[in-house]
Point group: C2
Chain length 105, copies 2
Protein backbone atom coordinates (compact mmCIF):
# COMPACT_ATOMS: atom_id res chain seq x y z
CA UNK A 1 0.00 0.00 0.00
CA UNK A 2 1.47 3.35 -0.93
CA UNK A 3 1.81 6.02 1.75
CA UNK A 4 -0.94 8.54 1.06
CA UNK A 5 -0.42 10.86 4.03
CA UNK A 6 2.38 11.74 6.45
CA UNK A 7 1.13 13.02 9.82
CA UNK A 8 2.79 15.30 12.34
CA UNK A 9 5.50 16.89 10.26
CA UNK A 10 6.83 20.40 9.64
CA UNK A 11 6.56 21.48 6.00
CA UNK A 12 8.87 23.93 4.28
CA UNK A 13 6.57 26.32 2.49
CA UNK A 14 9.05 27.17 -0.30
CA UNK A 15 9.19 24.43 -2.92
CA UNK A 16 12.36 23.01 -4.38
CA UNK A 17 12.16 23.43 -8.16
CA UNK A 18 14.49 21.35 -10.32
CA UNK A 19 14.92 21.06 -14.09
CA UNK A 20 12.76 24.08 -14.92
CA UNK A 21 9.90 22.64 -12.90
CA UNK A 22 10.02 19.09 -14.21
CA UNK A 23 10.56 18.13 -10.56
CA UNK A 24 8.97 20.00 -7.65
CA UNK A 25 9.27 18.97 -4.01
CA UNK A 26 8.56 20.27 -0.53
CA UNK A 27 10.87 19.49 2.36
CA UNK A 28 9.51 17.83 5.52
CA UNK A 29 10.99 17.61 9.01
CA UNK A 30 9.83 14.90 11.42
CA UNK A 31 9.57 15.49 15.17
CA UNK A 32 12.85 13.57 15.66
CA UNK A 33 14.61 15.85 13.18
CA UNK A 34 14.57 13.40 10.27
CA UNK A 35 14.27 15.18 6.93
CA UNK A 36 12.40 13.83 3.91
CA UNK A 37 10.66 15.40 0.96
CA UNK A 38 7.48 14.84 -1.02
CA UNK A 39 7.54 15.64 -4.68
CA UNK A 40 6.51 14.94 -8.20
CA UNK A 41 8.40 14.40 -11.44
CA UNK A 42 6.46 15.40 -14.56
CA UNK A 43 6.87 13.87 -18.03
CA UNK A 44 10.60 13.95 -18.76
CA UNK A 45 13.79 11.96 -18.81
CA UNK A 46 16.17 13.36 -16.22
CA UNK A 47 19.38 12.53 -14.37
CA UNK A 48 19.46 13.16 -10.64
CA UNK A 49 22.64 13.22 -8.60
CA UNK A 50 22.72 12.13 -4.97
CA UNK A 51 24.73 13.46 -2.05
CA UNK A 52 23.45 11.26 0.75
CA UNK A 53 22.00 7.86 -0.17
CA UNK A 54 18.30 8.07 -0.99
CA UNK A 55 15.30 5.82 -1.00
CA UNK A 56 12.68 6.91 -3.51
CA UNK A 57 9.22 5.64 -2.59
CA UNK A 58 6.53 5.79 -5.26
CA UNK A 59 3.21 6.94 -3.81
CA UNK A 60 1.26 7.49 -7.05
CA UNK A 61 1.86 7.38 -10.79
CA UNK A 62 5.07 5.69 -11.80
CA UNK A 63 8.41 5.85 -13.55
CA UNK A 64 11.30 3.85 -14.83
CA UNK A 65 14.74 4.37 -13.33
CA UNK A 66 18.28 3.32 -14.18
CA UNK A 67 21.04 3.49 -11.60
CA UNK A 68 24.49 4.77 -12.57
CA UNK A 69 26.64 1.92 -13.83
CA UNK A 70 23.68 -0.23 -14.86
CA UNK A 71 21.98 -0.75 -18.21
CA UNK A 72 18.54 -1.69 -16.96
CA UNK A 73 15.47 0.49 -16.83
CA UNK A 74 13.38 -0.73 -13.90
CA UNK A 75 9.66 0.05 -13.74
CA UNK A 76 8.22 1.42 -10.50
CA UNK A 77 4.60 1.50 -9.40
CA UNK A 78 2.87 2.86 -6.28
CA UNK A 79 4.11 1.05 -3.17
CA UNK A 80 7.51 0.31 -4.72
CA UNK A 81 10.72 1.93 -3.52
CA UNK A 82 14.25 1.96 -4.87
CA UNK A 83 17.58 2.75 -3.24
CA UNK A 84 20.18 5.05 -4.73
CA UNK A 85 23.74 5.06 -3.34
CA UNK A 86 25.27 8.30 -2.06
CA UNK A 87 27.49 10.39 -4.35
CA UNK A 88 25.96 8.66 -7.33
CA UNK A 89 23.19 9.31 -9.81
CA UNK A 90 20.19 7.77 -11.48
CA UNK A 91 18.23 8.37 -14.64
CA UNK A 92 14.49 8.56 -14.44
CA UNK A 93 11.90 8.63 -17.19
CA UNK A 94 8.33 9.55 -16.51
CA UNK A 95 5.43 9.27 -18.93
CA UNK A 96 2.67 10.90 -16.86
CA UNK A 97 3.70 11.72 -13.30
CA UNK A 98 5.82 10.14 -10.58
CA UNK A 99 4.74 11.12 -7.09
CA UNK A 100 7.30 10.23 -4.46
CA UNK A 101 8.61 10.44 -0.95
CA UNK A 102 12.39 10.86 -0.81
CA UNK A 103 14.00 9.33 2.28
CA UNK A 104 17.63 10.27 2.93
CA UNK A 105 20.47 8.34 4.53
CA UNK B 1 7.75 38.05 7.58
CA UNK B 2 6.74 35.25 5.24
CA UNK B 3 5.82 31.89 6.75
CA UNK B 4 8.77 29.61 6.03
CA UNK B 5 7.58 26.48 7.83
CA UNK B 6 4.27 24.99 8.97
CA UNK B 7 4.62 22.63 11.95
CA UNK B 8 2.45 19.73 13.06
CA UNK B 9 0.48 19.04 9.91
CA UNK B 10 -0.46 15.99 7.86
CA UNK B 11 0.82 16.14 4.30
CA UNK B 12 -0.83 14.49 1.30
CA UNK B 13 1.97 12.70 -0.50
CA UNK B 14 0.37 12.93 -3.94
CA UNK B 15 0.82 16.37 -5.47
CA UNK B 16 -1.91 18.34 -7.19
CA UNK B 17 -0.67 19.15 -10.69
CA UNK B 18 -2.44 21.93 -12.60
CA UNK B 19 -1.87 23.46 -16.04
CA UNK B 20 0.59 20.78 -17.19
CA UNK B 21 2.74 21.34 -14.14
CA UNK B 22 2.81 25.14 -14.20
CA UNK B 23 1.26 24.87 -10.72
CA UNK B 24 2.10 22.09 -8.26
CA UNK B 25 0.78 21.90 -4.71
CA UNK B 26 0.60 19.50 -1.79
CA UNK B 27 -2.44 19.39 0.47
CA UNK B 28 -2.07 19.87 4.24
CA UNK B 29 -4.43 19.01 7.08
CA UNK B 30 -4.08 20.75 10.44
CA UNK B 31 -4.82 18.96 13.74
CA UNK B 32 -8.19 20.75 13.93
CA UNK B 33 -9.11 19.50 10.47
CA UNK B 34 -8.39 22.75 8.62
CA UNK B 35 -7.14 22.14 5.10
CA UNK B 36 -4.59 24.31 3.30
CA UNK B 37 -2.05 23.72 0.58
CA UNK B 38 1.51 24.73 -0.15
CA UNK B 39 2.47 25.16 -3.76
CA UNK B 40 4.38 26.94 -6.44
CA UNK B 41 3.40 28.59 -9.72
CA UNK B 42 6.15 28.56 -12.33
CA UNK B 43 6.62 31.17 -15.10
CA UNK B 44 3.24 31.49 -16.80
CA UNK B 45 0.09 33.55 -17.05
CA UNK B 46 -2.83 31.48 -15.78
CA UNK B 47 -6.45 31.81 -14.69
CA UNK B 48 -7.51 30.00 -11.54
CA UNK B 49 -11.11 29.41 -10.57
CA UNK B 50 -12.21 29.26 -6.96
CA UNK B 51 -14.86 27.17 -5.27
CA UNK B 52 -14.49 28.27 -1.67
CA UNK B 53 -13.02 31.72 -1.02
CA UNK B 54 -9.23 31.62 -0.84
CA UNK B 55 -6.44 33.61 0.69
CA UNK B 56 -3.18 33.27 -1.24
CA UNK B 57 -0.16 34.02 0.95
CA UNK B 58 3.15 34.62 -0.81
CA UNK B 59 6.02 32.93 1.02
CA UNK B 60 8.78 33.36 -1.58
CA UNK B 61 9.20 34.70 -5.09
CA UNK B 62 6.31 36.77 -6.31
CA UNK B 63 3.57 37.33 -8.84
CA UNK B 64 1.04 39.79 -10.13
CA UNK B 65 -2.64 38.98 -9.86
CA UNK B 66 -5.86 40.41 -11.24
CA UNK B 67 -9.21 39.53 -9.69
CA UNK B 68 -12.20 38.78 -11.91
CA UNK B 69 -14.07 41.98 -12.71
CA UNK B 70 -11.07 44.23 -12.16
CA UNK B 71 -8.54 45.73 -14.56
CA UNK B 72 -5.61 46.06 -12.21
CA UNK B 73 -2.60 43.80 -11.96
CA UNK B 74 -1.43 43.91 -8.36
CA UNK B 75 2.15 42.94 -7.47
CA UNK B 76 2.72 40.52 -4.59
CA UNK B 77 5.93 39.95 -2.65
CA UNK B 78 6.82 37.57 0.20
CA UNK B 79 4.72 38.30 3.26
CA UNK B 80 1.81 39.67 1.20
CA UNK B 81 -1.52 37.89 0.89
CA UNK B 82 -4.56 38.47 -1.29
CA UNK B 83 -8.17 37.35 -0.95
CA UNK B 84 -10.16 35.79 -3.75
CA UNK B 85 -13.96 35.49 -3.44
CA UNK B 86 -15.63 32.09 -3.74
CA UNK B 87 -17.03 30.95 -7.10
CA UNK B 88 -14.86 33.48 -8.84
CA UNK B 89 -11.48 33.53 -10.55
CA UNK B 90 -8.23 35.40 -10.74
CA UNK B 91 -5.48 35.78 -13.29
CA UNK B 92 -1.91 35.38 -12.17
CA UNK B 93 1.31 36.09 -13.99
CA UNK B 94 4.61 34.81 -12.71
CA UNK B 95 8.04 35.75 -14.05
CA UNK B 96 10.20 33.37 -11.97
CA UNK B 97 8.29 31.49 -9.27
CA UNK B 98 5.45 32.22 -6.87
CA UNK B 99 5.61 30.10 -3.72
CA UNK B 100 2.40 30.22 -1.74
CA UNK B 101 0.20 28.92 1.03
CA UNK B 102 -3.45 28.66 0.00
CA UNK B 103 -5.89 29.17 2.86
CA UNK B 104 -9.51 28.26 2.19
CA UNK B 105 -12.77 29.64 3.49
Amino acid sequence: MPTTQIPGVTVNTQANVYFDGKCVSHGLTYPDGTKKSVGVVLPATLTFGTGAPEIMECVAGGCEYKLAGTDTWVPVVPGDAFKVPGNSSFDIRVAEAFHYICHYG
